[in-house]
Symmetry: C2
Subunit: 144 residues, 2 copies
Amino acid sequence: MFSKACEYGIKASIFIAINSYEGKRVSPKEISEEIDSPRAFTAKILQALVKHNVINSVKGAHGGFEIDKKDISSIKLSQIVNAIDGDKIYSGCGLGLHRCDENHPCPVHDKFKTIKAELKDMLEHTNLEQLALDIKSGVSFLKI
Amino acid sequence: MFSKACEYGIKASIFIAINSYEGKRVSPKEISEEIDSPRAFTAKILQALVKHNVINSVKGAHGGFEIDKKDISSIKLSQIVNAIDGDKIYSGCGLGLHRCDENHPCPVHDKFKTIKAELKDMLEHTNLEQLALDIKSGVSFLKI
DNA sequence: TTTATTTCGGATAAAATTATCCTATTTATA
DNA sequence: TATAAATAGGATAATTTTATCCGAAATAAA
Ligand code: FES
Ligand code: FES
């Protein structure tokens, strides 16, 4: 569904959000341990998320990654996915035609249409705060 | 969503089905031209589909790939996808946890649940005949 | 039985994705 | 100002996916 990079990016963002609520910045080391991902690779993904303004980085001593508390509830899953995988997952053709086009549909276009629309809708309406709260309350998990 | 191999496998199966209705066997060359895919790679995928009993192959002169006419309407998209990509697309965890488990859910488990179920349902209820007929009647397309 | 045609299958190769390592740069603080 | 702590970013490696090539095996027909 998503690339490994995107999976790591989503989980990392959630972990950063949780810590940001407590005013704590986190490092790639902490993040990769908490989400069970390769450290250096995760660091690269964090850089990409910073470039796309999903998370903030603070360089130097006492630095780390954080998200503005006030932004956590407005950051949508779709922003993270788009920053890493682009929008092909719900905009591209399910069978790889150059573009998904109502006027030149592939054989599964109609069957995929609703599924892709729901996926898009879900990603665009799910925010980091909801996901972070579930982790905090022990309802969901970031690894294993 | 699907791997390239799976996309090719689905399109190839549809093209073989169309020709099988007319009692015609087709070669990897014809198939790859019709679905716009790399020939040798497509041939490998066809071998896999044969092994999984999705399509039949006939070796030697006048051979080629075909599907029993009577089977076309009962072959489901899910069989093709499973033969090539497995079932991780709708059974695996969307965030890469070792397994998707109701009792140990990842942060997006609930949000993905319905989407994955619909995808599974769609794949299991879409058969090759429906897809082939749309191509035949010019309603949908296998390439570009 | 020979030949032409076709799939099968193994060996590579190319490209993309995933992963690692090392140095440069930035920054707080002693 | 010097030092330690941290992200940034380039180079490289490993792995997986995608793709190519070629000879072996099977088969129909001459
Ligand atoms: S054209 Fe293939 S999904 Fe729309
Ligand atoms: S545990 Fe992640 S989708 Fe079910």
